[in-house]
Symmetry: none
Subunit: 225 residues, 2 copies
């Protein structure tokens, strides 16, 4: 699991780097916007932790750039009392933020939470019940039967559902995870995607057993096989 950390303060950078490395993460660092973008492209990390105040740019720029091509979780670091910054960060698609100063333990906990939520801590495949999803090949194995081919979006949807199997995942979260941030109006897309996914994974798509609707809330994947 690779994590990109961007901050212009060397002390903080090494502290955070140490904490993360200790916990078994691979850490890549950058101290300004251009190098951050370069490292991001070169290393394709699984999580980005971005300071907002950077020389010659801001974490927002990086966040925007990352979101244009990726849906990896992004955590922003802000100085205390910069409320507008937070709003903006979340608007740009950041998933979490941390106010300085923070403890390494907090950082670790949040980072883990993000990775777990995004279903990224599993590597290349995820399992629940009799389902096994292969992220790389976009294949879904149901029991011992022939694997089903999924599209990119279907795969993402299933990914977050599996990562949260047994729990309801809210519409908003699903939209963000699958499409990256966008106005909350696009429930239609989700409807369609769910519908199409059901056609592929449900025995009887008209009476879903696996991908359950939770009215007024979101969807839930049954954990049992």
């Amino acid at each position: 699991m690779k994590i990109l950390v961007v901050d212009d303060d060397p002390d903080l950078l090494s502290l955070v780097g140490f904490a993360l490395t200790q916990s078994g993460f691979v850490v890549v660092k950058a101290i300004d916007v251009p190098s951050a973008l370069q490292v991001f492209a070169a290393e394709s990390p699984d999580l980005a932790i971005l300071d907002i105040n950077l020389p010659g740019g801001s974490g927002f720029d990086i966040c925007t750039a990352i979101r244009r091509q990726s849906r990896i979780p992004v955590m922003m670091l802000t100085a205390r009392g910069e409320e507008e910054d937070l709003v903006r960060a979340l608007d740009l698609g950041a998933d979490d933020y941390l106010t300085k100063p923070f403890s390494p333990r907090t950082l670790l906990a949040r980072a883990r939470a993000l990775l777990r939520r995004a279903g990224l801590e599993t590597g290349g495949s995820m399992t629940v019940g009799s389902l096994r999803l292969d992220l790389e090949a976009h294949l879904l194995h149901v029991g011992a039967a022939q694997p089903v081919k999924l599209t990119k979006l279907e795969s993402r949807l299933l990914q977050i559902l599996i990562a949260n199997a047994g729990h309801v995942v809210g519409t908003e979260r699903l939209l963000t995870h699958v499409w990256g941030h966008r106005g909350s109006g696009d429930r239609q897309l989700l409807k369609q995607l769910v519908h199409r996914l059901r056609q592929k994974i449900e025995e009887d798509p008209a009476a879903p057993q696996v991908l359950q609707t939770v009215a007024g809330a979101g969807y839930r994947l049954e954990e049992k096989g």
Copy 2:
């Protein structure tokens, strides 16, 4: 999960109240020391968030009073750069503090952390007597029987009633919690909602055993199973 928030600034009070309510907490407020103590006694919240600077007293007094009779987690709010306050707060038994200004998200995160530490985090479900309400899935389990499906509004209503089981909850509070403020004229809505909820949860909806009417005041949920 009920949270007491004490601050003399109405803006901050309503902001915090809104944030917490949105996240499914039941919020009770107070703006000075005497009313805080009174509300604390009447509502027995699970967490207290106290401003330090209050007219006619200080959050310290409240903290002390609370600690005399309860071990619920207490979070103190301080203005920036009042270091001695922090020391004193922690001495008095406060569990955490937050420096103003802070973001709602931070507050939420800390509040959750405190509740978790105190072992009070319920993970989306609440229990009273033989009732168990699953907020996530909008399901109500009655004893060992089949769970009953609730609507969003029914779920919210039951949430605040369960959080206050055994105590009367005023009509006004119910309206605010369920519909998020509107002209006080809408008692009709509440009547209907209660009626519909009774159809689902009462053995004999015409003679309510669980969801009791308290004439001229509001409703009360019986605590015993």
